[in-house]
Amino acid sequence: MTKKRKILRAIIALVFWIAIWEIISLIVGKAVILPSPVDVAVRLGELLITGDFYLTCLNSIARIFSGLVLGVLLGVLLATLSKLSSIADAIISPAISVIKSTPIASIIILLLFIFVKGIIPILASVLIVVPIIYENIKNGFDNVPQNLVETANIYNISKGKRIKMLLIPSIMPYFVAGSKSALGIAWKAGVAAEVICVPAVSIGTMLYEAKIYLESKDLFAWTIVVIILSFIIEKLLISLISKVGGKITNG
């Protein structure tokens, strides 16, 4: 399918769903329950021309992105420790399983007891990202091609060269896959954490306030902002991660 046709199809789908939304909002007839797409678009336009809007978005992005980066680093570190030491693995693996099984809302509320609310979205993102990266990197370690390990052993290839030529290229596809999954989840978890702990100047706080004050147009407008930002950030970062990962894997 050509690019033009793809764009056309996407526009048709978008118009279709907006029309459905408009029809339902007319049937409901109460803007406080379901505002019309036109009202939401107008509200979104109003938001877009304020400086606070961009500050709010940047704050949320910075928080969640910090959590993502910290989570990725911690996940890689813990997976490496698990690979290097069976004792470390015995300690780390159950903790990762517990984090993975705990609902994100419980994690956020537990964190609220201990930490100031400003850093909770960061910590929530970290805790969501760590298990994903940890498991992917561990799978990567487990799937290093044995024939190449044998070659490295036969020729006594140094540790540094093994890491560069064998380990990193083998693990990179798993790292890229893990990072792609983690990215979307971290963003959703981060915004959810902001809604629960309402830190100053954040998208989550705007969503929370919109709900409290029954500002449905604001609620819908900010939700659209979350979706668009998620889409843009995912596209940008995934393309960056894939590019760097591909270069390392294939040289």
């Binding site: 190449l148 070659t151 020729y155 290839i157 294939n250 040289g251």
Partner: protein
């Protein structure tokens, strides 16, 4: 001096005996190892190289081993040149010069920067041979090293290899009697789970 001593070596996989009570000593020179597929030729090379352990018996190896694997086992993330120099120690520039000389002799002078995944089977095979040669070991285990090579390239590669390995201990697995005879008159076969020498 390089040597390989096999004493009562046996190996089985999943209860199926592959090699049974092998006793053999190789002091020097070139040995060709023949036999039908699945008779344990590669297994024997893997046991000698230490990649696998024998179920019983002992294997004593004097000298460092280079191994040309049947599947080439090249590192796809780095260039042909890096694949060859990675087995060398010492000065990088000097290593590269030596590696380039070997690659040139094997007809790979235009492939220094190529990634192995972009090479043909025959080219990849020659890179694997170049890597083994660059490692400068005393013992060479070659598992079907000329697979995928056309007649002309095979002939050139064999000639260079014969000259280069003249003072080494070499065991080469092959299915081609002409290949074997080109290098040596010491041809071993694995028959009935054991080694038999066919002097021609």
């Amino acid at each position: 001096m390089a040597s390989i001593l096999l004493e009562n070596v046996s190996k089985s996989y999943d209860g199926k005996i592959i090699l049974n009570d092998i006793n053999y000593k190789i002091d020097s020179g070139f040995v060709a190892l023949m036999g039908e597929s699945g008779t344990g030729k590669t297994t024997l090379l893997r046991l000698i190289s230490g990649l696998e352990k024998a179920d019983s018996g002992s294997i004593k190896v004097e000298g460092k081993i280079a191994y040309v694997f049947a599947e080439t086992n090249l590192f796809n993330s780095v260039s042909v040149l890096d694949n060859v120099t990675c087995v060398m120690n010492g000065d990088k520039k000097n290593n590269e010069a030596v590696a380039k000389t070997i690659l040139d002799k094997l007809g790979l002078e235009n492939e220094y920067k190529t990634k192995p995944k972009n090479l043909s089977t025959g080219m990849a095979q020659r890179v694997s041979i170049a890597r083994a040669m660059a490692s400068d070991r005393e013992i060479y285990l070659l598992d079907e090293p000329f697979r995928g090579l056309d007649d002309k390239t095979k002939s050139d590669t064999m000639e260079y290899l014969k000259e280069y390995l003249s003072d080494k201990l070499v065991i080469m697995v092959t299915h081609d009697i002409k290949e074997a005879e080109y290098f040596t008159d010491k041809i071993l076969s694995i028959f009935n789970l054991n080694l038999t020498q066919n002097n021609s």
